[in-house]
Each structure stands twice: as C-alpha cells, then as structure tokens.
Symmetry: C3
Subunit: 238 residues, 3 copies
Amino acid sequence: MQKPPVNSLNLDLLVALRDTLVKLEKEKCKGMILTSESPSVFSAGLDIMEMYRPDHNRARKFWTTLQDTWIKLYSSPYPTVAAINGHSPAGGCLLALSCEYRVMVGPKFTIGLNETQLGIVAPFWFQDCMRNAIGERQAELALTLGKMFSVDEALKVGLIDEIAKDKADAISKAEDFLDEQSGLPALARSTVKVAFREATLNRLLKNREADTKMFLDFISMPKVQQALEMYMQTLKKK
Amino acid sequence: MQKPPVNSLNLDLLVALRDTLVKLEKEKCKGMILTSESPSVFSAGLDIMEMYRPDHNRARKFWTTLQDTWIKLYSSPYPTVAAINGHSPAGGCLLALSCEYRVMVGPKFTIGLNETQLGIVAPFWFQDCMRNAIGERQAELALTLGKMFSVDEALKVGLIDEIAKDKADAISKAEDFLDEQSGLPALARSTVKVAFREATLNRLLKNREADTKMFLDFISMPKVQQALEMYMQTLKKK
Amino acid sequence: MQKPPVNSLNLDLLVALRDTLVKLEKEKCKGMILTSESPSVFSAGLDIMEMYRPDHNRARKFWTTLQDTWIKLYSSPYPTVAAINGHSPAGGCLLALSCEYRVMVGPKFTIGLNETQLGIVAPFWFQDCMRNAIGERQAELALTLGKMFSVDEALKVGLIDEIAKDKADAISKAEDFLDEQSGLPALARSTVKVAFREATLNRLLKNREADTKMFLDFISMPKVQQALEMYMQTLKKK
C-alpha cells in the first residue's frame, strides 16, 4: 500500500486493492505479502473523509468495495502474509487479520480494533476475524476496550505470529512463510483454507445488504457527523 | 454478597441479586464489582435446600430467577468485575464467569464448575460460559472432571485474569479495570459486549422452558432426593 | 493396535477397532488406553491400498466403518486416553484427537493432520477435531500446511497434553488420567462429555452420506489413482 501519508482506506485505495486481488487470483499468484510504503503506518484504517458529509451513492460504493476487498483477501486461494511495518488500527488491523500469517515490526508500533474508543462499533465480520485469531475471551476483552496492542502483547495473545526487527526482516520472515507453503499441492491447500474460513465468509455473504444499510444509517446520524467534524478539527490542530 | 455463612444461592439471594442488577441498569451504573463479605467463600453455589423435598412452584421460581439473574449479569451494559475473595464452586463460578473480568485472591482458594463430582450435570449455559472463557479443549477437560482450579491453575488456563494478595488488593485491581473502561463511549462499548455474548444468551433465551423443565424433572427423581439427603447428613456431621 | 508393520487403518483393522469399541461400551468399560505394538508408529493412518483400484462396495464399507469407528470412539461414555508411542500422521492423529487425553512419547516422534502435503483434504470431521483441540487459529495454520508437529511443538500448541519418556511412562501417565476419572459418577461424566462433543458429532451424523460420496468420488478420479500409483512405487523403492 502506497497512499501517503498513512494508507487511509478511501474508495480509490480500496478499488485498487480489490482489483489487485482479483488480478492475482486470475494470474494464479503463488503468494502475496501485504505491506506499507509508509515508515510508521501500515494502514490507518477507513478514511473518515468517506463518511463525512457523504454522498449516498459514493458511500454505498465505498462500503461494498470494502466488503469485496475483504472477501477476496480473506478467501484467496494463494497464501497471504501481512508484513506489518507500522501502526495498524481498525481497518488496518482487519487487513492484517485477513491474511494467513502476520509478522510485525517491533517494538514501537501498535495494532488492534480500536473502534470502541472512537465511539463506533466494529462490524460483525471485523469481530469474527479477531475472534478467529485470538479466541472468544481475548477478543471480547480487546474489542470492548478498543485495545491497541503493543507488539509484545500482540505476540503473546496470538494477534501476530512473529516479531521482526525492521521492514526488511519482516519481508524476509514473510517470504519464509511463503516458501514453506510453496511446495504444497495448491488445490488441497486452498480447499482446506476455504473450509476453515467458510462459516465466517458466509456470515457476511448472507448479510451484506443489512451490513451496508447499517453503515449508511450510521453515517446519516447527525450525532455521528458532529463527532466526525470535531475529530477532524482535532486532527487539523495537530 | 452477604448471606452468611457461604453466600449459598437460594431464592432470596437470587431475587436480591436480580433486583440489584435491574436497578443498576436503570440507574445507568458505570461499573460493578461483585465480591463477598465472607472471608473464605465467594459463593458456595446453588443452595441445595432449594432442591431438597421441593415445592414445585418455589422450585420453578428458584430456577427462573437464577436464569433471570444470569441473563441480567451476563448482558449488563455496564462493565462488571468479579473480585473473587474465596472459594467459588459451581454456581459461584458461574457468577464469576459472567462478569467481564476476574481477579482472584491467592493462593489458597479454588474455583471451578465441579457439578460432575456431585453427580450432576452443569446446565448448558454454565458449560457455554466456561467454553467462552477457556476454550473448547480446556472446558471439556475441566467439566468432565468437575475440576476445582487452584488460583495458579486458573490464571494459567485463563479462567481468571489476575491474582490478588488479599481482598483489598482484589478490589483495587477490579477498580483499575473499571477505570480503564470508564472513559469509553458507553453505547459503543455495550453494543460490542452484547454482540460477543448474543449467541450464548440466545441459546438460553430460546430454551428457557426446556432448561427449567430439565431442572424440575431432575430434582423430582427419588435417586436425587436420596443423594441430597445423604449429602446433608455428611454436612451435619461436619 | 497390533497390525504390523505400522497399524495402517485398512478395513480389517477398522472393523476390529469398531467391534472392540462396541464391546467395551456394552461391558461398561471403566476406561480405555489406545496404544500401538509398533516401536515407532502409533498408526500410519488410512491404508492407501483401500483406495488404490478400489472395489466400490469394499471402498464404501471401508469409509463407513471409519465413520463408525470415529463415532464410537469420539462419543464413548467411558474415559479414553491415547498413549502415542510413535509417529501419528493423518488418520493416526484423528484417533489420538478423538480420545479425551493425549500422552506422547518424546522426543523424536511427530503428529499431525498432514493430508494437504499428500495433495488430499482432511475430511471436515478431522478438521473439527483439530479445531476443538488447538483452536481455530492454530488449526487453520496446521492444516493448510499439513504440518507434522514435533512432541515439543505439539505440547506447546495443545495438540497433546503430556510428554512421556517411553511407552511404559506413557501408559503410566495414561493410567493416572484414568484413575482421576474413575471415582466420578459415571452418568454425569459421560453426559457432560457428550454435551461438549454433540455439535461435532451431529455434523457428521447429518452429513454421513455426503461425506461417503465425497470419498468415493475422490478415489474414482484418474488423477488420484495415478498419484497413488506413483506414491506406491516410491514406497517400494524404500
């Protein structure tokens, strides 16, 4: 991802991600490493500019493209690794959680689904991804608090799989994971992967429209627009 | 809980607990710590006097009040902590498991769903609470055995979250947990909590009457009454 | 299991296992230890000779007997322990996973569901058993890779419960587990066990015929027969 400064997931970046994922699948990709060009942020998550004073049609397209991107990434037949070389809150954490393996650069970056701290609720499929990674108990604790994990905490709870010294080391460890997978019979491997992810995928596939409506209703609330306005003024002062 | 000597959960204590939980919810409580006035027992669990030579109507009221108490505690919008300052078997363990966080005084107390050891079966929603806390594998192992965990074992398996030196330390650690939650947007926090607990809650809500009938049938069995009688004679000798 | 050289699960061994399990249940067995007469292999898993140039009727009987064996073992009312005194791939791992407790002789043996490495897909009930033992995250990682765990890795991830020095030590530790269970009220114990295993059992019970058909279709594919032929030639050279 190379959308300066912080890889905010706006409609353009999501379309680019989704199109890349579709292309990789068609081209029988052998493996993918998801990382960031930024020196300090993996992805800052959903771009709130897409939610502020929204145009209905664009907002709907934004959300369905986010769903499409996740569906493609989460169910990809080829192996996927996140080389998390910077902070990874909310939607950034979702992207990392949707890969098969997570290597994170230590020690100063943080990762987590912190929506609760912002007064919003992580969609159920974000919740499912966290639950699948760290288990029911730790996921409930993390999401009620909107906890951002340090790299050490993330490793301990199973939110990441390995710690790297820097980006080069993260890429190298990610390549080791892909090398381990590369000798495997591809069809058996991808069939097992999808078997494990099927229930979680189907939950969104069966509730896509309701999930989209919930997002559109949410950003239509005057209270939410006020909160976004205040939040952006805080950012400007920084 | 302050029903000497061991906070046995009889109809009176359950009614008091349920009414308190209803009141706290109405009064927009910011957080609750559940603890015991007893120096050695958090709660001894369900009062077997409610099961011995039962009056049908009272027994039904006893069980449905237990269900109501659990539903209110497990789904409370405000954060809940158990400061477990004594032994916590069976129904006592259920109360602790239904809070969001568990601090337990070490080293000599024990906690667990030990129903199997008494020849009875923990209801499915007790099982669900244990599974949500410590995972499928450890929950099956614990419940088939009716295992009472030492404080160290409980921490290791994830049945409790922290160990405290004494009651004051447990309360202090419980307050730290509540402080961490207190700055959070309340609606987002409680929405996430209920999203995580919904499936477990609905399983009881959809099977309340069957669950009640199972309890009433169980205590109507002559074998069960004989076992209760023998058990009470053992207690008297102590 | 004492079918030299490696306890391959062919129709004869499966019939013997299933009949023994049925008999143990009828005779109100107090506990069972599953182990191997081989000094280096617990069980090598399904016998590929049952899949090579198959007779349709025998192949169907082979698969349904495997299902029956698993159903009986997984839902046995009496406690079960695997004393894993040798390598335990694929179907051998399934047998171990279906017991209530696993003691494994270290340090040189390995255990895992390695089907993916052979280009095949572990049936969904094999996947469920692994997920129940080590959780969603680790099970997905293990099965996409077809990972064989060393004894230390298996202990760390929860795939086994204890390490033993040798077979005698494994049997002794298995007996300790059974001793711990032996004083328990048998009906309560088995009711809790089946309550925990019900969802997993029902998933196969409701899909038995589809599961059998999938196996029969799979071994009917020319590609699969070619792969089996090549695999057997490799074995002959050894």
